[in-house]
Subunit: 450 residues, 4 copies
């Protein structure tokens, strides 16, 4: 009944009756629900903006986030949702979400299994629910042309995972997690997902006082190897990712930053199979800039995809705000343009892992938020493209290290010298004098591109 009424509502006016499909109106528009900069088919550096940016929407924030916080219940108005954890309610959400994708012109989406489909009364029913919703999503994809950027399993919300999933102290919990990933991976495969993410929400510890860290990490590695093996069995060829975050919900999470993830992947022989999905807010919680984390991942050939948001550096938890800072977006797009030898994203994209503030509780705030983020990244892309084309930054950096292009520098790089030889060399030269690092001049230059 409820569902019928809602379908009817949809036929009349859509779930977002106050919002039309967002149009590009150019920088002088004063329509808050128009794009000023994002023009999907406009070419930038020889490729359409939409193919550069590969925007994704997060099912959890758009459809399932009630905008609660530890001190207050949800505020988000979601008239289509009856508040139940039923399969029916889950099926109602699918067309709402695809209407949102359609109107916002976002081409991709991402989900956790439990966002789209509820736990059932039994574990078998839980799996069956996911299969049913997967069918529905598949239909919606086919009807709209929207695609799945990546899927993942929610291994952190249910009390069974309170002490970890792959790193739980209970083998039965590990088995449940394995079972859940099997199905989430198969759903992702069925939906043609370009990737599959591991976000280790509870893979970490609350306290070392009761924890065997080494044994937990061994288990985590076994878990990932099983997932990689299963993907091969079922023919899933999408990219696996790990998403770094230092803490929250756990006191410490094993995937704390890009370097910690890479160390783990190297130790357990997994680096060929997983890349990193880097998020701004997580980078900053780890004490790094987003640019740093992107460069660390890139230097290891492991930059895969991006969770697009921003944090508040004065606040110590994940605020998951929408990315509207032009400096941030330009710096990210500079790295994206250089990914994969200049190809940009292949399997990855810019997934808005971002939520409206709790005070922005109206459905149209979802659109304000995403439109602003998309426009900010569109500006960032154009700025980055101009910087790359100009080449002044690249030239400066290349020149700065030029002493390693030949002579003793080249010998150092090739390993053709040793401490004795370099000692003799040092004793024979004039004391070295450095050039200015010119950081201020370059920061001013960056402002010229804005």
């Amino acid at each position: 009944m409820v569902q019928c009424a809602k379908q009817f509502l949809h036929i009349m006016s859509g779930y977002f009756p106050n919002v039309s499909k967002i149009e590009f109106e150019g920088p002088d528009s004063d329509n808050p629900l128009a794009f000023r900069h994002y023009n999907p088919d406009e070419l930038v550096a020889g490729k359409s903006m939409k193919n550069h940016l590969r925007f994704g929407a997060a099912y959890w924030h758009c459809m399932r986030n009630p905008l609660g916080d530890p001190f207050g219940v949800g505020t988000a108005l979601m008239p289509w949702d009856d508040g139940s954890e039923s399969l029916d309610n889950a099926l109602v959400r699918v067309p709402v979400f695809f209407e949102f994708l359609e109107k916002s012109r976002i081409d991709y989406y991402c989900f956790h299994d439990r966002d789209v489909s509820p736990e059932g009364a039994t574990w078998a029913e839980t799996h069956a629910n996911l299969e049913r919703v997967t069918q529905e999503l598949k239909g919606a994809q086919e009807g709209s042309g929207k695609k799945l950027l990546w899927g993942t399993a929610c291994l952190f919300a249910h009390p069974r995972y309170a002490q970890g999933a792959a790193t739980a102290p209970s083998a039965d919990v590990f088995a449940y997690a394995a079972s859940q990933v099997k199905h989430a991976l198969e759903a992702t495969h069925a939906l043609g997902g370009a990737g599959y993410v591991f976000w280790g929400g509870r893979e970490g510890y609350a306290s070392l006082i009761n924890t065997d860290m080494k044994r937990e990490l061994d288990h985590l590695a076994q878990f990932l190897h099983m997932a990689v093996d299963h993907a091969r069995k079922i023919g899933f060829t999408g990219q696996f990712y790990i998403e770094p975050k230092p803490r929250e919900p756990s006191t410490h999470q094993y995937d704390s930053d890009a370097a910690a993830c890479l160390n783990f992947l190297r130790e357990y022989d997994l680096l060929d199979h997983l890349k990193l999905n880097i998020e701004t807010n997580h980078a900053e919680l780890a004490g790094h800039t987003m640019e740093h984390e992107l460069d660390v991942a890139s230097a290891a050939g492991a930059l895969g995809s991006i969770d697009a948001n921003r944090g508040d550096q004065l606040i110590g938890w994940d605020t998951d705000q929408f990315p509207t800072n032009i400096y941030l977006c330009a710096n990210i797009m500079l790295r994206v343009l250089k990914m994969n030898g200049g190809q940009g994203f292949t399997t990855g994209g810019l997934n808005f892992d971002a939520k409206r503030r709790r005070e922005s509780h109206l459905p149209e705030d979802l659109f304000h938020a995403h439109v602003g983020g998309m426009d900010a990244f569109a500006r960032g892309l154009k700025i980055a493209a101009r910087i790359v084309e100009d080449g002044r930054f690249d030239e400066f950096v290349k020149a700065r290290y030029a002493s390693f292009d030949s002579g003793v520098g080249a010998e150092i790089e090739s390993g053709a010298t040793d401490l004795n030889a370099l000692n003799s060399y040092a004793l024979g030269i004039e004391p070295p004098v450095l050039d200015s690092g010119r950081q201020e001049m370059l920061e001013n230059l960056l402002n010229d591109y804005l």
Copy 2:
């Protein structure tokens, strides 16, 4: 002349005339300059306290730190020091330092080359200065029985290293750094040093805007390989260490935490050659507890030595305070007791990388500070030994993971299962129920040992 007068002063009363050799007087003493807990030859868990703890003093903080800060000049009274950067003044400091070691009963020491010996007018003279002071230190060691825990080179204070040493953009600067390490390593070898530390003070970046991170890391790896090769050539068999720190002086330092160091060592095939020297204050600046960093290093078989100090978690820079917190010292000693299969330190030790506050400017404050740190670690050792002997913590943790000792858990650990099998298993069991993690109960138990 100045030196003569100082020698005379020494003959009369020592450089610290107000301080006698520190004695163990037991917990009821009210003499601030006595040990209440550190009794060097007392056996704890079958080994003398001094052999468990292997205390080291830092030449830089004891002899060279004027107690200045970015807003004020030095306050430390050092009547033996004429304030010059001369070789003569450097030689004067040696007996002062060894008097300090003798009176404080600290058995080891650590130094940077530039702490003990000044730059000369030429690079050759710089090297000659180090050789001269090394002779003096060797004599002092022989006369006192004190030993060198580790040596290192100061590759961060001189302006030539303002943009890095091994990661400088200048090949000539790299060559100077290589030359300097050659001599520092040879001095360490000549003094029978048990180890050699790399602390990458400027190996990092001020800004990514002018930095090629990948190229810099490649250079750093070449640098370390050259040092390892040189050690083999000269017969140095001591342990190499890297010391993690996330920032300061650089905005970012490549050796930012234990995981970042391990990732680097794995990537560049250096893990067989270097262990980690972990410092409390650095751990906390990286957003980790000291225990976390010790456990990460241990899990990789790479825990080598410890810089004993504490930070102020409300302050964002290295305060290098003396470790007086009993919880901290007990938690460190718990890890030390389990190092190397229960042997404790082999090459490493507890080096007090700690300085008095700027307001504690009198020479005797050096003694108050070290005596307090030694006593706190002596208490920590005794607490840790009781905890290990009792075994209640170890039993709790072992029991917590018992489901992995057999059955499906053992199959998971051995890699004898896969997602399909675990899915079938999960469908056949009752939903898992977790035991309480009992963190509060265990925290209370810890207090019982204090």
Copy 3:
């Protein structure tokens, strides 16, 4: 029906059948559910421990906290609770809570109106619910001798308060908040509460971009004046408190730390009417130590009560852990012993605003947690009493400032001099030489008392 069954259960075994009344067994006990240090009637410095410590339990954490977090649902097992927001369920909780107080030997409690009593279908029903539960609490108090330390109103959880209560942009929301406080204050009065707390959960802003800070602060001041006036009308003579916290849930909260609260109270002529309720975790989130906040409040004659917990300084949100750190407890009790001219608490007490970790989900974990906190404070009290009795710290500090007890120092303190006179004085003296601050010596001395 459900309630009946639960009453029956209670008659048989109590709601905590595995836990007996906690007994003092002395420091050598190995019973985790016994006191080793807290012996309620033992005299310390001439007063019983229970009268020094005035422990309070928080209704919200004990009865209403499901141990959820932003990434997962609740884990706490509460077999007496049917999970509903009904009045019946609220009434069931009362005897459970008083059994907890009885068994744990905690003499006081604290609540928010919405912890004890649910919102109704109408605003009038909401008020009626509170009146009904207040009767039940009154009966339970009379039957047990337990007392109300303070009450407060929950002005942050309901969506109507999403943009503030007294600082909401809506006058109607302000009126609702005023109405709610009227009833919460009256309930507190009816229960003989020793105090009433304002915790400004949402009194702050999410962003300055849409906020008129000055106007909001004016409203907050009007709100507090109305509460003070209402208390006088109804004859409530308990103490009002404000509780500082810098952020969470708001991006910024107006009551951000002790100094910000005092500034506000001074500006709006409220300092005669409100004291501060200081919490460790909040102090640290504000970048201060607990000792600092206590001393700031004390210096203004405004230290009223304490929320006893601890945070994790590496984590940027309120972890509300149980206070088990002996240093912290001793430092707090040192300040408490000196409160009110040496009387200690008059209206205030030590309210455990602390929750078990999410992994400690069993009912008995509530007892482990509180017992550990009480024992830690009992140790802290004994340490503090020894320090005060010895007087060595007080003597040191007094001697340090002795130059202000007479001569030019006394003139400075009394305002009997000026810049010209001090200039002449300075020109006539030897350059001043400071004594050592002796921080390290004093930190060692503190360890002697542990």
Copy 4:
């Protein structure tokens, strides 16, 4: 002799021979040493840019900062400086600084007494030195039209102030500080300074363990009252300021943020005499945004002047970077435009309390740095002026609080109601429904102005 040679050098080419007077060349210039946006006499909102911005240069950073850090000595090349602490060398610096002001088109400057003039062999000589340099500065001001924005005394660098100046535990140190402020204030007066700043570098504590906070604050208040009285005596009518900062160099500084300063000024009856000088980097170290601190000061009528820089929010100390972030500059200028009832700065200005990075050691880097900061503020000013003119933000905020403009809201504001009346009102209305806070929409709107 040295001075002669340097004067000669100046005649030939100036101290900055590679830099000409900076010209406005408009946004398309690719000359790094030109203004793209700052056009001093261009009118914005009816006033010239130079009168809006009132740029000041900091003598300490420009002339005296060697660009050292706690791990390395200075790198800055200052060929005019012989490195001595002599009066002659101090006099040499004056024309260099004024050449810098002239070429950079900065109209104001700021200094500490010890920046411009060294300590002498006696305290009397110290004062005489300052008088001599003050004459020189006066001549330079007259020759150039440059003006003094504010002066201050350095009460933190000398060891005598290691434990505070006005809050030192020694009355003799207090007297020295008073004597020093007398002369610094008189020098500021002689130079026609528009203001005088107190920055409490060491007015705070290293540890509470040896500190009597209340007594120290009483002394600080006496100190400020003496300064205010002395100003009246000598006829100085400039504005006094306090500059908030939470820590560094002290563990805690009493002037920790705007609220703490205001609380202190209110408590000690000083609010009529001192305003605040707010700095971005200090605001962020206190856990606040710059906008927050400006609004707190403004709400109290106490916003006086601004130290223009930026920090690095991932770093825990004062990095004093140049302000190049357009968002920051626009947000600051929005507040400046509204200062003093829309007049903007009266006595205050934008003082660049900012230093080049240690790697930017060439004299021309001083120009790159300041030019970039000036251009960023010029853009910020234009953006802010457009925002004010458009009025969309102001309208949104006004509308948001409209319910307080009449009816029950107006009664709340005027104090004409009470809890009983509001309770009756609340019981009579429909449950309140909030409008969206629209933070995302407004953040997008802000981007439209960039």
